[in-house]
């Protein structure tokens, strides 16, 4: 473990995982908002909205994230001039957040959509019978019930998001996987311990997250 007793390496390790957590946090929030919006679009009465929602899901779900993140840098930033922060690192971070959110939102949208589908049709019929509009039906009756069956899928989406954050290394955010690469290159004699520490940190973060969401899903499940 001599690799991690060197304070320089240990700092790199910490900052790598800090980036991962920051990327995950910001993208989770954005992806949730965007995903729910997309899901609403996909079930809305307006055909154009449905089309855009479907196109979004199909495009982003079928493109490798690495490419999406590259597009964020070379397309959004360097061609369209989208400057999200003054410092280079921070700008790359936000570009990464945009890419991760756009990608993850497609999965959130599909999870919400199948969640909505688990709500019995009678619920919506009853809501309409008492005169609620489309938005009211969704907001007051359907989504609160769908939320419960969506907890478990959201758990796996969040876990995948956290792991996917490593891909933002492509555009120069020195996150955990870039740090690991660097350490491996410099310490060929300690390959196994380095991997175990990095993989172990991910496991320590994500396995409990998985169980937490599993437990929540069980607790919140609607018994029908």
């Amino acid at each position: 473990m001599h690799v991690f007793t060197d304070p320089k390496n240990f700092d790199a390790y910490l900052s790598g995982f800090l980036w991962i957590l920051k990327l995950t946090g910001a993208s989770a929030g954005l992806a949730l908002l965007l995903g729910v919006l997309l899901a609403a679009m996909r079930v809305s009465p307006v055909p154009v909205l449905r089309g855009v929602g479907a196109a979004w899901v199909n495009i982003f779900r079928n493109t490798p994230l690495t490419l999406i993140v590259l597009f964020c840098y070379f397309g959004l930033y360097s061609t369209l001039g989208l400057n999200l922060a003054d410092s280079l690192d921070l700008n790359n971070y936000w570009l990464g957040v945009v890419g991760l959110s756009a990608y993850t939102a497609a999965f959130v949208c599909e999870a919400v959509r199948s969640g909505v589908n688990t709500v019995p049709a009678g619920q919506a019929e009853a809501a309409r019978a008492i005169g609620l509009t489309f938005t009211q039906t969704l907001r007051i009756v359907i989504l609160p019930q769908a939320t419960r069956s969506v907890v478990a899928p959201f758990g796996s989406i969040l876990i995948a998001l956290c792991k996917n954050a490593t891909i933002v290394g492509t555009i120069g955010v020195i996150e955990a996987s870039s740090v690991m690469k660097d350490l491996l290159n410099e310490n060929g004699d300690a390959v196994i311990p380095i991997f175990l520490v990095f993989a172990g940190t991910f496991a320590a973060l994500l396995i409990p997250t998985g169980y937490l969401f599993g437990w929540l899903a069980n607790r919140l499940a609607v018994k029908r």
Binding site: A111, R113, R128, S177
Partner: protein
């Protein structure tokens, strides 16, 4: 795409008008946005012929994109077969009544689900050679990485599928004298696989996309050859990325469509969990209308 959704009434004249207006406004906004992107790209010279002519040359296709696509499909195909096998074995292992099988199987599945594929491929390529005293070809680093991760996700999908089956299925099978292995193989697995088809397929799409991570170990797949190497020759990274993205989207859509067709074909026979009336009729068939999570790795 009829209006048979139960979420809103069959639109009357006013609702139709409103939805048309909304649709037009939104469409105009969308076109404006696309036009703005187009002109910005134009101003940045992204539509310049020199960036795009490489794609009219046969060499670009025969020496960069197609070999890359082939390598992607090869890794994906082998990875798919191995992950399905891995998934089946570990699903059964985790359901075992013996703790010394189920606990290690569970631990392995949980571990590989939690470790980013990027880390895994990197470790297999650079770390494992120190263990086995021999080189690991980039192909196997990618395939084994894909197998361990996607196989673990599939194992969970299979397990959930088996557990979602009515208990009467296995009881009836035991009653007619089947052994455990027969019950699993002949009764439970076929039904679970069918019920979980949407998830299985979306996981296979994920696997195909994840082959793109092979570029970190210089595995010559589509992203490496079609974007990185091509751009090193012609300096057209954005153009190359667009072309390659379209290829990925087409292939993955085909795979999804194939799954939809398979699902429709198989769902006419045998038992499936009874369908409750659906909330909205506009839901496409599998895998988008799937009942559980799809997993967005990579």
């Amino acid at each position: 795409m009829s209006s048979s959704s139960v979420l809103y009434d069959h639109p009357g004249p006013r609702a139709r008008l409103r939805s048309h207006v909304l649709g037009v406004v939104f469409a105009v906004g969308l076109v404006a946005l696309l036009w703005w992107i187009y002109s910005k790209f134009d101003a940045a010279g992204q539509w310049e012929a020199r960036l795009w002519t490489p794609f009219t040359e046969a060499k670009t296709w025969t020496q960069f994109i197609l070999p890359g696509l082939r390598a992607t499909l090869e890794a994906a195909a082998v990875g798919m077969v191995l992950s399905l096998a891995f998934g089946l074995i570990f699903a059964v292992g985790r359901l075992s009544e013996h703790w010394w099988i189920s606990v290690p199987a569970g631990a392995i599945v949980e571990f590989f689900r939690a470790v980013p594929l990027l880390l895994m491929i990197f470790f297999i390529f650079y770390g494992v050679p120190f263990l086995i005293q021999g080189p690991v070809p980039a192909f196997w680093a990618v395939v084994v990485g894909l197998t361990l991760y996607n196989g673990s996700v599939l194992a969970e999908a299979f397990r959930a599928g088996i557990r979602s089956l009515p208990g009467g299925q296995s009881e009836a099978a035991y009653a007619i004298g089947m052994r455990k292995s027969q019950v699993m193989r002949l009764i439970l697995m076929p039904q679970a696989a069918r019920a979980m088809l949407p998830i299985i397929v979306s996981q296979l799409v994920v696997l195909l996309k994840d082959t793109a991570l092979g570029y970190i170990v210089a595995y010559p797949e589509l992203l490496q050859r079609g974007v990185n190497d091509l751009a090193a020759n012609y300096g057209n990274i954005l153009a190359a990325a667009m072309v390659v993205a379209v290829i990925y989207i087409v292939i993955n859509s085909l795979l999804t469509a194939l799954a939809g067709w398979l699902d429709r074909r198989t769902s006419t026979r045998g038992t499936r969990p009874a369908k409750r009336p659906r909330l909205f009729a506009t839901v496409d068939s599998a895998p988008e209308g799937g009942t559980t999570a799809t997993n967005p790795q990579g």
